[in-house]
């Protein structure tokens, strides 16, 4: 495998990290109106991700920076082309990120419900739009000879992309709700499990439609079909395990679903990185979008040394905060 191809898969890996981790953050945020019946409930929910949301979100920053460094043309085309969609994602991430910190600064319930609203919207918007963005990348968008996107925001909101957005929205929602049941006790744990059973069914139907539609775009390529099938099986397995009350395994299979789905999408893309829908000659490919061999060599050594280290200390962090969050724990602690 040449270096650009290696980095194509490393980028896929970084986005898997981002979607698996921030995915359940988004799900927990979106679950507030469904699971947060009172203030103690809502604080329990927010505290399930309290110590980790920031490191989860950092996966996006690193994925973006590595995309810039390894595939400058891909980064430039994608970010300038999807300008308004990314603006919405940024505004949502800003509103959501500050809300975690601001929410508990004042006791008034009006103040708290204001930031609850920002957490809910700030979680739902990126959960939807990341799916829209990736579906458009896979489907292809109009590009000129300079690889600049020539469409508009409305062109991005086509039926296939919206189905992709709905898929990530539901997938992250269910993934987050299963995480809640994994991280809480008693009544909250049961309610979260039941909610995930219901939302999981809808997720399975929508995700299946999306994977089938993508199969048509990928021209039923063998590797795509294998990965999409694995994603589907993992999702169904996750649903059964959750219903059986085995939250840990259900959550692990939820993460596997996201990983296989991202791999399937990248397989569908390969060897393009941004296919041009108007003229294949304008497509961005792994070869014409990537950085020089020297840059990729430097990056590869850095990733080789530091990614295992990063995974180790982040895994350790999750281990430190492995205990379930309870209402009692919230009530005795200070803000």
């Amino acid at each position: 495998m040449d270096l650009p191809t290696l980095w194509f898969w490393i980028i896929a890996g970084l986005f898997i990290g981002y979607f698996v981790l921030d995915g359940f953050d988004f799900g927990v945020g979106m679950s507030l109106p469904f699971l947060g019946r009172d203030e103690a409930d809502r604080r329990v929910l927010i505290n399930t991700i309290g110590p980790v949301w920031d490191l989860n979100e950092t996966w996006l920053i690193v994925a973006g920076a590595c995309l810039f460094a390894a595939f400058p043309e891909w980064y430039a085309t994608l970010f300038s082309g999807f300008y308004l969609a990314l603006l919405l994602i940024l505004l949502a991430l800003i509103a959501r990120g500050v809300s975690f910190e601001y929410r508990h600064q004042r006791p008034e319930s009006q103040w708290k419900s204001w930031f609850d609203g920002m957490i809910i919207v700030g979680s739902a918007v990126p959960a939807l739009l990341w799916g829209v963005a990736f579906a458009n990348i896979v489907q292809g968008v109009p590009l000129d000879e300079g690889h600049n996107y020539t469409g508009t925001l409305i062109d991005l909101l086509n039926p296939y992309a919206l189905l992709g957005g709905l898929t990530t929205l539901l997938l992250f929602f269910t993934h987050g709700v299963v995480f809640v049941s994994l991280k809480t006790t008693d009544e909250m744990r049961v309610r979260a499990r039941n909610l995930a059973v219901r939302s999981g069914l809808i997720t399975i139907v929508v995700a299946a439609l999306f994977l089938i539609w993508t199969a048509v775009i990928a021209e039923f390529a063998f590797m795509y079909l294998v990965l999409a099938t694995l994603a589907a099986l993992a999702l169904i397995g996750s649903w059964f395990l959750n219903r059986a009350g085995s939250e840990g395994w259900s959550f692990a299979l939820g993460a596997a679903t996201i990983a296989f789905a991202v791999l399937a999408l990248f397989t569908a893309l390969f060897p393009d990185v941004m296919p041009a829908s108007n003229d294949p000659a304008n497509s961005l490919t792994i070869a014409n979008a990537s950085s020089s061999t020297y840059t990729l060599t430097v990056m590869s050594w850095t990733a080789l040394v530091f990614l295992p280290l990063i995974l180790a200390y982040q895994g350790w962090t999750y281990w430190i905060f492995r205990k379930r969050v309870t209402r009692a724990h919230i009530e005795v602690a200070q803000h």
């Binding site: 604080r43 505290n47 309290g50 110590p51 980790v52 920031d54 490191l55 979100e57 950092t58 920053i61 690193v62 973006g64 920076a65 590595c66 810039f68 460094a69 595939f71 400058p72 043309e73 980064y75 430039a76 085309t77 970010f79 300038s80 082309g81 300008y83 308004l84 990314l86 603006l87 940024l90 505004l91 991430l93 800003i94 990120g97 500050v98 975690f100 910190e101 601001y102 600064q105 000129d144 300079g146 600049n148 950085s291 020089s292 020297y294 840059t295 430097v298 990056m299 850095t302 530091f306 990063i310 200390y313 982040q314 962090t317 430190i320 905060f321 724990h329 602690a333 200070q334 803000h335």
Partner: protein, 470 residues
Amino acid sequence: MNDWLDPLLLSRWQFGLTTIYHFLFVPITIGMSLTAAVYQTAWYRTGKVHYLQLTRFFGSLFLINFAMGVVTGIVQEFQFGMNWSTYSRFVGDVFGAPLALEGLLAFFLEATFIGLWIFGWDKLPRGMHLATIWVVSIGSILSAYFIIAANAFMQNPVGYELNEARGRAELTDIWALLTNKVALAAFPHTIFASFMVAAGLIITVAAWHLARHQNLVTMRPALKFGLWMMVGSGILTTLSGDQLGLAMVQTQPMKMAAAEALYDTATGADASFSIFTWGTPDGSSELFSIRIPYLLSFLSTHTLTGTVEGINDLQAQYTQLYGPGDYTPVIWITYWAFRWMIGLGLLHVIVAVVGLWLTRKGRMPKNKWIWRAAIWSFPLSLAAMIMGWIFTEMGRQPWIVFSLLKTQDAVSPNVTGLEVLISLIAFTVIYGILAVVEFKLIKRAAQKGPAPAPEPDAESGEIKPLTTVY
């Protein structure tokens, strides 16, 4: 196309505004994480509870702004691609690498260990918990190094080669990129200036409480700490600023000429530094100025007989080298930003020295005007920092990468003025609202003062800090 819908102009405004805004939070993170680490170490070594109170107190002020630093930082990274795609295509091979290194080596450390520090008080052994805040501090300083190395490439491109076939700059030497002489000087300058901002925050908060004769046990040592930190980091900021000045003269002489509004090349005594100019500093209508002879020569070359190139000569040189065009930055901005940066910075060192004298051997000044003046320490040190960035970035114009690419050629060709206007308005509105909320929350937490020291455990006599949750 309407002039006010010019995507270039709007993108420049957006990048400038969002960068300045982001950088309000960066020095606080860099300086206050170190402060919290120092206080927690003091508590760890001495067991004195007021150190623990100060750790938690300044830690809480730093945490209110930390989330803002993170989320506004994502905007910065995205904007290179969103608004400056031509720039990204041209330099991504070089410029992307330090950003990726920053993410992999620094951001992950910061983001992971800050969570451990905030929520780990009751979950980690004391020594390990202390280590987490040091890791956060080191991570924030490391991230500054990589982003400054990236910025230094824009000021003084090194370690690259132009690939004509692909029409882009390609990295040839990562070590040269990371040891760019502009980066080596700008990094300590930025870090020490960040410590000045943190010192300013500590002085402001401590002075507010001491003026009201409250929280004396914690705020008196905090004031001393802040004053010493201001003096120490102020001196180091000055020394590193001097080095940065030398590097700037060697790599971007036009920026130094623009800093001084020096139109004609001057030598020795004529290379004077104007402290203040009345009139327009465009050289045509100077009515009154206070000048220090030789100083500009000294700052630029470290000799009294040096020659400092003027704007007119440099303009002629650059026209020959790079073709016809205007190669001068906006002079009034660079001239005044440079002065305000230096003026406010030096003022802080002087005020801090006076403060140390007034509070020597436990004295507390009675004069309320002294306290009122001290309150301005934080906003003015932050202003000095911002002036420095405005100077260094506006002084780089018209280039986005000096000698390689002009700002006007770097903007995304397919992003319309209307789109940029929408995003500019959106960022302005949300940043504006959050600035008000943020300021009120920090002010409220600062005025509340440190929480009372936790009671020692009945059995062991040890102090267990409380669990923290959102």
